[in-house]
Amino acid sequence: MDSGSAAAQAAGASGSRTSITRPVSQVNDMIKKADILLGIVLVLLCLSSLFLLNLSDENGSIVTVSVDGRHYGSYDLTENRRIEIGRPPKDAESKDTAGNSKDTSLKDASANDASANDASLKEADEAEGHSHAYNIVEIRDGAVFMAESSCANQVCVQQGAVRRVNQTIVCLPNKVVVSISGPKSDMDSVSY
C-alpha cells in the first residue's frame, strides 16, 4: 500500500484492472522511460568495459595456469601438450605410495616450480576434504581447453576451446584458472 496513489494515477491508461478487485500497486506500464534509460546506461557500460578490458581478436601465445591464486605454470600455446593438475584417479588410488610416487604433472612444468605448487594444491585439496580434485588442461592446434575435470558442474569442460588474448577458462570448484596472454606478456603483474 506504500504508493497506491502513484499506481492509481497511471492505472487508467494501462487498463490492467479488469476482473480482479485490486491488482498489485506500481504495476502499470511494462516498460517505463527509466527502464530504457537504465538499459542504455548498462549497454554503454558493457561496451566501454569491453573497450577497457581490451578483449581483442588477436590470438594469444602464452597459456598461464593458476591454482588457488598461485601461479602453476606458463605454456606455449603453439605447442601441443596435456597439463595435469592434481592427481587423476589412477594415481589417487595408491594412497600409500603417494609419498614417493612422482606426479605426472612433473613432466609438464619445470621441476622446481611444479613440485612446490603441487604440494600446495594437495594441501588445499585435503583441507577442503576432496583429495581427488584434478584437472587436465590440453593445448592443441593453437587453442586451449579443459579436457577433464573432477568438478561436479563441468562448466569448464563444456566451455570448449579458447585461443584469443585475455580469454579464460575457470574451474571454480577446483579453483583453477587458465588464461591466455599475448606475445608481449606483461600480464603476470596484473594476474594477482
Binding site: I20, R22, V27, N28, G39, S49, A152, L172, K175
Partner: protein
Amino acid sequence: MHTAERKTARMAVGAALTALALIFSYVEFLLPIPMPIPGIKLGLANVVVIVALYSLGTASALSVNILRIVLSGLLFGNLFAILYSLAGGLFSFLVMWLLKKTNLFSTVGVSMAGGVAHNLGQLTVAALVVSNSKLFYYFPALLFAGMFTGILIGIVAWLVCRRLPRI
C-alpha cells in the same frame, strides 16, 4: 481483512512462493537452458522473488529469497553453491529493492538491474575464491547476460504481477 488474518495469509502465500521458487530452481537444475556463455542460467526463481517483492513487500520477499537460496543449495548443490547464490541473490535483492523504491522503474527495469547485480555479485565472489582478478574479463559478457535474462524474467514477472492482488 483482520490484521491477524492478513498476517496468516501473507505467511501462507510466502511459503507457497518459496515452494514455487524451489520448483523453478529444480526445473532449471534438471533442464538447463543452453546459454552461449558457460555457467549462465535464466534464473526462473527470480520471477518468484520479484512477484513476492511487489505483492508481499520487502521483508517477506527477502525471506522468500534467502529461504529458496539456502534450501535449493542444500537440495541440489553444496555449501559453495549457497555462497555464490547468496552473493548474487542478496546483492541483486538490494539493487531491486532500491530501484523499486524510486517508483521510476517497472518490473522489467527492476529485474534487469537485478540480473546484472546478481551476476556481478557472483563474479566478485568467484574472483575472491580463486584469488584471480582475470575473472573480470567475464564482466562484459556477464553484464550483457544479466541484462538479457533480467529483461525476460522482468516481463514474466510483470505479466504475473498485474494479475495478482496485493495481499
